[in-house]
């Protein structure tokens, strides 16, 4: 069964992080929230697997 990857998986973490922050440049807080929502939905569809998604939700919730 597919499992959520929780070990490093990004080839260039600094590049991704910079791109993520830059994508929000100049947006109001509400627009940023909307963008994040669209991003989550797009990624969720790409992942597709409900079990993996639920694991990701738990990880996000538990680390608050």
């Amino acid at each position: 069964m597919a499992k959520l990857i929780t070990t490093p998986n990004l080839a260039h973490p600094d590049d991704f992080y910079a791109k993520l922050i830059a994508t929000h440049d100049g947006l109001t807080e509400d627009d940023s929230m909307a963008l994040n929502a669209r991003l989550i939905l797009t990624l969720a569809n790409h992942i597709g697997d409900q079990a993996v998604l639920e694991e990701a939700l738990s990880v996000a919730k538990a680390t608050a």
Binding site: D30, A34, A37, R38, I40, L41, T42, N45
Partner: protein, 541 residues
């Protein structure tokens, strides 16, 4: 003393003094149905067609004005057809397949229901609820002519009830004053605010949604809209937080505006205010009459149990859902379909009382599925928090350009029959490679048989459906008779029967219940297995 709570669309059963009212002691009837809404009438029809005497008591003299339900689903129509009144509904109803979803001033996407071929009934028809009820009533009259022991008493209001171990006693008010009746069995079909439920002090818990909806049914005079379902989220014309437009027969369109929780109902229902909303939506110069309007709010909830000894709750009295997904009347009809044959068998002494407990098991399962689906639709249509609003709109904006987001858009998941998976009446699934849609617990899908349809040949009794398999033409197990319907692939040029009932198998034997649900299936006939499954399906194992 006797005031109507609503006005009538059709006056059908005017009050008539019954000899029961002059009897010295309360007269006992086998079955009394309280409530002559769609669910009570259908119950009377089901039992009456089995020859079981049934008396319906309703506090009005006919069918209430105004269309509440408009969307009737395939399964509901198939049940009506089993009772003999499906075809007039189909003839009168509007069939639609195309839906469009809008957000603000943009079309997000459109969808086509793409109906599967080879069914007598479409996925849905739109039909005003009073017509739906009248067709059931007209079938009752037809059955009465053939001798069905059905009696409907108008202006008979149930004001009190006493439940005993083996019967129920009712206090009834009429224009001639009060009287009492007794019943061996009582069907409570008295609607969402069920007085009988309150009389028994029973719970009815669930979620109340803090929103109201304004309905206007309008008849177009000048221009016309297509036969499609249009749904707006946050429409640019600002007539509501969401708006639904849907065609009904007689050139009437249903418009449904979500108008918020804190509204002044009286103010909103003034014609000029309704017209202001409609004009903003329809644009200048469109002329129409308002046929009916009302404001409704809703809950998603059910009773903990539907059976209370000799009393059964069905329809809105037992469960309530939001209108999104059209699951109210549609699921109530499935209650009737489920209980009718069981009660008939118990009354005739063919099955034990415990069979009736499976009404609870199966229909609570159905109600929970409906509540889950309609709650999810409601949460999408009326988001409860800022973050859920943001996600909802994120789905809509993605859906405009990307196909992947469209299945997430939820403007109502349209009613489909539930499968009684894992329930106690089910027998074995012993058809290797058999299609999942016809597994035990599922309702039988229709299939064409020459000029006729499969479902018209099932129903009302236990049946052994064989496809290219040998079996005796009938058998009887402990007083319950089963007849065989023998079919073959040769009768199936479209392949629909094989596709729906054989799958990868070469032959099949299905034991089918009187409500057209599959009880068990095998690849070939085995007498012992069939007898065991039949006993199980009658609650005897």
């Amino acid at each position: 003393m006797f005031q109507d709570r609503y006005s009538l669309a059709f006056k059908l059963y005017p009050y008539a003094h019954s000899p029961d009212q002059d009897a010295a002691a309360p007269v006992r009837h086998p079955v009394i149905v309280v409530g002559g809404g769609p669910i009570g009438l259908a119950t009377a029809l089901d039992l009456g067609r089995q020859g079981i005497p049934v008396v319906v008591l309703d506090d009005h003299e006919g069918i209430g004005m105004g269309s509440r339900a408009i969307c009737f689903a395939k399964r509901c129509l198939e049940i009506a057809d089993r009772y003999g009144c499906g075809e007039p509904m189909l003839d009168k109803g509007v069939v639609w397949n195309l839906g469009k979803v809008f957000h603000d001033d943009r079309k997000v996407y459109e969808f086509n229901l793409l109906p599967e071929a080879g069914h007598k009934f479409p996925a849905f028809i739109n039909l005003q609820q009073p017509y739906f009820e009248r067709f059931i009533y007209e079938q009752i009259v037809e059955e009465q002519k053939k001798g069905a022991p059905i009696e409907i008493r108008g202006k008979n209001r149930v004001d009190g009830m006493t439940v005993a171990e083996d019967h129920v006693k009712l206090d009834i008010m009429t224009p001639d004053g009060p009287y009492q009746l007794e019943a061996d069995w009582l069907m409570a079909c008295d609607g969402a605010s069920s007085p009988l439920r309150s009389m028994l002090g029973l719970d009815f818990e669930g979620q109340v949604f803090q929103d109201s909806f304004l309905i206007a049914d309008i008849r177009m005079k000048t221009s016309s809209f297509p036969t499609e379902r249009w749904f707006w989220f946050e429409p640019h014309f600002k007539s509501g937080a969401s708006t639904l437009l849907h065609k009904q027969p007689d050139d009437v369109w249903r418009v449904d505006f979500q108008i918020g929780w804190d509204v002044d109902r009286k103010e909103e229902l003034k014609e000029e205010n309704i017209r202001a909303r409609l004009d903003a939506m329809l644009g200048e110069g469109v002329e129409y009459d308002i046929v009916w309007s009302s404001i409704y709010t809703f809950q998603c909830r059910r009773m903990k149990k539907f059976r209370h000894g000799r009393v059964f709750f069905a329809g809105d009295a037992a469960h309530q859902v939001s209108p999104f997904g059209a699951r109210g009347a549609n699921s109530g009809m499935q209650d009737v379909d489920n209980l009718g044959w069981k009660l008939g068998m118990v009354i005739r002494g063919e099955a034990p009382d415990s069979l009736l407990d499976t009404y609870d098991e199966e229909r609570i399962h159905g109600a929970d599925e409906n509540i889950l689906n309609s709650t999810r639709s409601t949460d999408f249509i009326t988001p409860k928090s800022k973050v859920s609003h943001i996600f909802r709109n994120a789905v809509l904006s993605l859906a405009e350009s990307y196909e992947f987001a469209r299945p997430i858009v939820n403007s109502g998941r349209l009613s489909v029959p539930c499968v009684y998976d894992g329930m106690s009446l089910n027998g074995p699934d012993a058809l290797p490679g058999g299609p999942a849609r016809t597994r035990p617990g599922a309702s039988c899908p229709d299939a064409p048989l020459g000029d006729a349809f499969l479902l018209n040949q099932l129903g009302n009794r236990f049946l052994l459906l064989t496809i290219d398999a040998d079996a005796p033409d009938s058998l009887t197990e402990d007083g319950v008779a089963v007849t065989r319907l023998a079919l073959s692939r040769d009768q199936d040029p479209s392949g629909a029967l094989a596709d729906r009932y054989l799958g990868d198998g070469a032959s099949a034997v299905y034991l089918i219940r009187p409500d057209q649900h599959v009880a068990a299936r095998w690849d070939s006939y085995d007498e012992t297995a069939v007898r065991t499954a039949l006993r199980k399906a009658c609650g005897k194992e």
